[in-house]
């Protein structure tokens, strides 16, 4: 599978890291079932590092490819089927020789469609964050419910970082998926059993 990733991919991937978190107690109180979230992060070469390039379409295509690959990895790490996912988010960190717009080119035009294909649905906006930074930079991936952005129990975030990335000519691309909201949510608002799922908001 991995050889296949390199051979057929537009993205030149140096490494892929996956993170899984499972929270089983909070303040001594049991979280049952435990909340679980996963992130898959690819470190790729930035084809536009060190220069201003007007047309960023290559990165948009790479975004489409990574949307599928990373969502599949994150879902597999949770051991669930795509449609069982509850919330999602995406983020990118561009190495120092790139620009913020490179992260935007990966994340916004084409990445969402394959993410939603893997997850079965996803009416809500995929919350995102981006930054430029050096090796070991911390990426906080925002999380929101995939079918209704206003579900308050699922407003969350997941921190990821890789100590040796992004190098100056690299970009870190991350997708996070959960099968649950925050542990012990109790600040009210729209709950997931009230989702209408028509407009992606409620």
């Amino acid at each position: 599978m991995t050889a296949h990733i390199q051979a057929n991919s537009r993205a030149k991937i140096r490494k892929i890291a996956t993170f899984v978190e499972e929270i089983s107690t909070e303040m001594g109180k049991k979280v049952d079932p435990p909340t679980r979230r996963a992130a898959a992060v690819a470190v790729i070469e930035n084809p536009y590092a060190g220069q201003y390039v007007e047309d960023l379409s290559e990165l948009m295509t790479i975004g489409e490819e990574l949307g599928e690959l990373l969502t599949e990895r994150a879902v597999a790490a949770l051991g669930i089927l795509g449609p069982s996912a509850e919330s999602y988010g995406k983020a990118a960190a561009v190495g120092e020789n790139g620009e913020l717009e490179h992260a935007a080119a990966i994340l916004h035009p084409k990445l969402g469609t394959p993410v939603r294909r893997v997850l079965g649905k996803g009416a809500a906006l995929i919350p995102s964050s981006k930054k430029r930074g050096g090796l070991g930079v911390v990426l906080d991936i925002p999380l929101g419910h995939k079918d209704a952005a206003f579900v308050r129990s699922h407003f969350d975030g997941m921190e990821v970082r890789i100590s040796d990335a992004p190098r100056a000519n690299e970009i870190m691309v991350a997708i996070a998926v959960t099968d649950s909201g925050r542990p012990l949510p109790r600040v009210g608002g729209l709950s997931k059993d009230q989702i209408k799922g028509e407009d992606g908001l409620r």
Binding site: T2, R14, I16, A17, T25, S163
Partner: protein, 194 residues
């Protein structure tokens, strides 16, 4: 006997294709299992703490097994290992040392009698503390291609009364290993060193 109370588990898997050189025919994979447990001795000096090592043994075994699963399920692919602990601020370094036996035992048990000492490190620190876990070959400590390390940490752990326990396994040498020394193919496998 103190009960092992787990707050959270974190798994991290890295798959490394290259590092600027030729793409590896078989990518190197590294996996880390991190578990945050309550420190039963936090907040005061306790003389007798050895009992907690036995309590942690099932957890060590479970974490080792989960690493093998994360690396594909076959213990034979595992070539390197390491372990570590971060003790929250209300504990002492000695509490981290409680992990030596159960962590090492768990990995040896799952890997079927690895011969080399399990490289390790530990520290006391606050939430978000990073730990560079040393990695060496499972059967011969001197295999130079397998000297490695993996950085781990959790943003909200360890809290003051917690211990973050870590185990790490890898499937091979550094991705572009080329500084000589004892090779994995030259291991005699008698003393755990060469």
């Amino acid at each position: 006997m103190p009960e092992v109370q787990i707050r959270k588990r974190v798994f991290l898997v890295e798959e490394i294709f290259h590092e600027g050189g030729p793409v590896a025919p078989k990518p190197q994979r590294r996996a880390a299992a991190l578990v945050v447990v309550r420190n039963p001795y936090a907040g005061g000096y306790v003389e007798k703490i050895e009992g907690f090592m036995d309590d942690l043994k099932p957890l060590g075994l479970e974490m080792a097994q989960s690493l093998v699963t994360a690396l594909g399920g076959d213990p034979k692919v595992v070539e390197g290992y390491g372990k570590g602990a971060i003790v929250g601020s209300a504990g002492e370094l000695e509490h981290g040392a409680l992990w030596h036996v159960p962590g090492g035992y768990g990995m040896r048990e799952v890997l079927g009698g690895a011969k080399a000492i399990v490289a390790s490190t530990k520290k006391v620190g606050g939430p978000g503390t990073r730990l560079d876990i040393p990695i060496t070959h499972i059967n011969a400590s001197y295999v130079r291609s397998h000297f490695d390390a993996m950085e781990v940490g959790i943003a909200d752990a360890p809290r003051a009364d917690e211990i973050l326990l870590a185990l790490v396994m890898t499937t091979g040498a550094r991705v572009h290993a080329r500084v000589g020394g004892l090779k994995a193919s030259e291991i005699k496998g008698e003393d755990g060193l060469r």
